[in-house]
Assembly symmetry: C2
Homo-oligomer: 248 residues x 2
Amino acid sequence: MNEFNEYFKSAFTVDNVILGFDEGDMKVLLIKRGEEPYKGKWALPGYFVYPNEDLDAAAKRVLDELTGLRNVYLEQVKTFGTVNRHPFGRVITVAYFSLIKISDYAIQASSIAQKAKWHSVARVKDLAFDHNEILDACFNRLKWLIRSRPVGFELLPPKFTLTELQHLYEAILETELDKRNFRKKILSMNLLIDLDETQEGVAHRPARLYQFDKEKYEEFLAEGFSFELKESKKKEKPSFKKASPSFP
Amino acid sequence: MNEFNEYFKSAFTVDNVILGFDEGDMKVLLIKRGEEPYKGKWALPGYFVYPNEDLDAAAKRVLDELTGLRNVYLEQVKTFGTVNRHPFGRVITVAYFSLIKISDYAIQASSIAQKAKWHSVARVKDLAFDHNEILDACFNRLKWLIRSRPVGFELLPPKFTLTELQHLYEAILETELDKRNFRKKILSMNLLIDLDETQEGVAHRPARLYQFDKEKYEEFLAEGFSFELKESKKKEKPSFKKASPSFP
DNA sequence: AACCAGTAGTGTATAGTTTACACTAATTCC
DNA sequence: GGAATTAGTGTAAACTATACACTACTGGTT
């Protein structure tokens, strides 16, 4: 393969958009860069893919080093390879996103992890490299995903209330949902276990606690089920005549 | 960046799943390999990405060299980077798919194009490298895409009948659709122009010809519309109680 | 000219889904 | 005991999806 040697001069990396949900808000874990290029800027965690390492394994390694978490939701989203995206050479990066429970996250000892901090996704700007674009692509993928699969529980603690779940959906979809319709839809999926427990120590009527039903969720995935969630139309442009929403 | 030189030893390529529709069947354009590795096997068209070339540009180049076509539907799908996917070294490939009108395709003079041939997607097997997996990923993406966006016209000649359109959908979705419901849904989208012409030289009642309305399609894309198509349930498992198809 | 073969084209009733919307219930705090 | 705060609940109307079968038009055959 000597004739092709000139093509073996590029590097590839993975960048990981690690998402969590906290304080009613979607958060992304960013690293403050300690070196050039973009020294001092915030960036997505990522690293070179080792020569004998699969792509997915590299993404898991980056996640593990930073958060200590394994077996979390991780999905490849898109590859970014503009010629000049890295000032030091041709570097192609494969973007992944992962969903973690912030309650499980504990800051790691590694020097890189010391520089990590959660940022509200909505307020992130001016990241290093083309990382704004990567973050957008991953967050949009999550928006699509949450409408078709119940991935919400990846982001919530084991026990949660329906209101918390709804707030999560609203944060991801950046919209408001109707409480009654949301509950009807969620409960009709039969993917929640009613724990027959309630919140404690809140200064109002305590909410029931639920748990995701992992077995039923496996069935759901196996059968290729999907669902749709639509936003509440309260206070929308009035009388927008919905053109028939389907085509071939 | 000398410390990172060891990472600049891999190559990356693009592979392009070029899809067309002919004789009621989805087709993919494959190349018979003339060299090792996998000499004599069929493979997806692809090539190294040049050092100063963007990924999308590389995919367009591969497509152009093979078909002479530009400005066709082209979309990045997924990146494949298993360590040993290429026997000669670490090669990561970014998979793209494109949709072309086979009627526009004319075999090109280049030596590579001489080795190209259309194959029925359903009957493809035993491709070189991991190309079966890549083809599957791209075809599945198309299946998803066709349910949510009217990309069908990318695959049909400028004038077509509703039955041709329906057959295209059935070929992609690998299912049967109800004629009346299909037509209702399609026409309700208002994306077709009735040309007030009919087929000629057919030994049966001639069908009306339609054209896609590109302007309305642009609006459709801009407004983020989507649609769903469901398969006919004729002859399905009887009385399958549709568990509520939605969740958060 | 009559008929046959073959595909095009059309409507309706039913079931299911989505939407909009407002009040009562349970708890803490004062 | 009352105020504050969030939890929890049902229904009617509009819309969408589905199942289903016959007539219309053309070319070819006799």
